[in-house]
Point group: C2
Chain length 354, copies 2
């Protein structure tokens, strides 16, 4: 706004009785300024509505301090909670957060194609969607650091959960309760169906069933886009089977809540007739007594923010998985007649040595 009748940095410095360098340091929140001096400079700046020009600020701080955060969904809890933790850490480090919502595959490609023509950013944080090798190469060439939060991307620092381990906690819980006819509602992002994010959640189901000596019944595996309504529709399909499942493992709590709604709409009870388990610990899970595998989402955002700060400071950063834990609530129980079934199954699997 200098030139519009507002003050320049030099004017602010003069009125506050300090050097321009000190005024700049005070305005940019640098530590090497006495508190009283800082207060005087800020008072002058505020009184005259002084605005630091981006160029001046860059010169003063040696960096423009901008981080692009790229989000595929904004109205879903998982992404919002991730963003909350991330923003908190970046703000604390006085980095500006530029938000890019990329709902479609085309939006995502556009973001990486147009980035060179955009204002310079110091780093890019990608929230839970895949980045192609070509896009990664372009960012690397531009000297822009990239961090993946809520999912893993090849050669860049990431923070996420161990999907396979989380899913084993969910499916092993159902197996322990005595379920053998366990359905899986798989989630897929229609904008990147090839991504391997959900894969751990799928391989764990197959591994857990194999370990229990159960063959996967393809009828019991349903693949839908992430979302509650999609989970409700998938459950309708499962209830249409000649022999419906006694338990349902869903790739997310939102899907699980949809499945529970369908079960109840059919006049059946959770968990007496059908058990349901999800992954996330979405706030609605505790309300609706959904058994789930909890992941620390806000914390993943904070870790990603710290990785950005470290990258910009030139420190080494490596990927990291945060732990999950099973939270048993009221949506899971042994199947009807579990004791008898379990015995006969044991009998099936372990014929007497005679």
């Amino acid at each position: 706004m200098a030139g519009d009748g507002h003050l320049s940095l030099a004017d602010v410095a003069r009125l506050a009785g300090v050097s321009a360098a000190t005024a700049s340091r005070a305005l940019n929140g640098k530590p090497e300024v006495a508190e009283a001096t800082r207060a005087r400079v800020l008072a002058v700046a505020q009184e005259h509505a002084y605005v630091v020009s981006p160029a001046a600020s860059q010169l003063a701080s040696g960096t423009n301090g901008r981080v692009a955060v790229v989000v595929p969904h904004l109205s879903r809890w998982f992404f919002g909670a991730l963003l909350e933790g991330l923003e908190a850490r970046l703000r604390q480090a006085d980095l500006d957060v530029l938000l890019y919502h990329v709902a479609t595959r085309r939006d995502r490609a556009d973001f990486f194609e147009r980035l060179p023509a955009r204002r310079k950013v110091n780093a890019v944080v990608v929230l839970a969607f895949p980045v192609s090798e070509r896009e990664q190469a372009r960012l690397a060439m531009m000297g822009v650091g990239i961090v993946a939060a809520g999912g893993q991307i090849a050669s860049f620092p990431y923070v996420c959960i161990d999907d396979h381990a989380a899913a084993r906690q969910a499916v092993d819980h159902l197996l322990f309760l005595g379920h053998r006819r366990i359905a899986m509602i798989e989630a897929v992002d229609p904008e990147s169906p090839e991504w391997t994010d959900g894969m751990g959640r799928t391989t764990a189901y197959r591994a857990a069933l194999a370990d229990a000596g159960i063959e996967v019944d393809p009828e019991l595996v349903v693949r839908v886009p992430w979302g509650g309504a999609e989970g409700a529709a998938a459950m309708s399909g499962l209830l249409g089977l000649r022999v419906p499942p006694t338990a349902v493992y869903a790739h997310s709590d939102e899907i699980a809540v949809g499945a529970m709604a369908t079960i109840r709409r059919a006049g059946l009870r959770v968990p007496e007739d059908i058990s349901v388990v999800g992954i996330d610990d979405h706030p609605v899970a505790s309300l609706l007594e959904l058994t789930t595998v909890a992941q620390p989402v806000r914390e993943q955002g904070e870790v990603a923010g710290q990785m950005v700060v470290d990258l910009i400071a030139g420190r080494d950063v490596t990927g990291r998985a945060v732990p999950t834990r099973l939270v048993v609530r009221g949506s899971t129980a042994p199947p009807r007649g579990a004791a008898r079934t379990a015995q006969s199954e044991v009998g099936d699997r372990e014929p007497s040595p005679a």
Copy 2:
């Protein structure tokens, strides 16, 4: 990145065989550049990872095109959906979105106090929280436009729903069904308990009951922070009354969902034993068959984005409320013995002329 071995704008122009002005227009997505020329400039820029410096970009476009979006909650659907619509419109206008999460009252005050020392923004959008007169004055003095989305702020352009009208739709629906003992679970933001945002939702309850000749029973009004768990707790209190309500009107769907969970946990049925109505049409509402008053949230974000574009272009902008509508689902029904009650009430209120 110029000076780091990367190209200057002049270099890009030379390699593409165009003037620097044309190269700048092409990189900034201005219309007055032939498609073939634009493609050539972008190809050169991308090949050499050219980055437009913020200063150059400002000179070229005559504006830095930055909008600060200030959000009190990021992990709640309402704010995420609002942000989604807003970001879409601002991005379309090629404005950068700077995200500021202000969870606490202190964060909010900080944002406005530190704004002068921050990088210049062209406008500020405040998502559903109050801004004091002092803060408004500071923004006005700085020449920064302000738009309020999801709530109304005194003298600035806003987009929101008519809270009173929306709440009347909810409460009148319960009254029409024959309910007379109707509870209200009021929501309040603990960080700005004085804000009048929820007031329309409260005054409408009182007005609707008064119109129906019903005196408000203070026991039936519970005040809690926004949120599902808070709604669940409030409902526990209502079920502890000597005569619990036959219907509950909640200020939001999240609160209503919490109330429904408590009702079911107590072994009662919705709507047979107690009806529940909310406001929002949160995605979980259709899943759980919650009757609600729907508001177009994403659209409010888009309208706010258009207001920002208009403000920056120097056009006049006025506040505007978007319409709501009642969506009847399975959580509301006449109270038990409604016909008899309705008759006796009519008898009470309209004594025979004899």
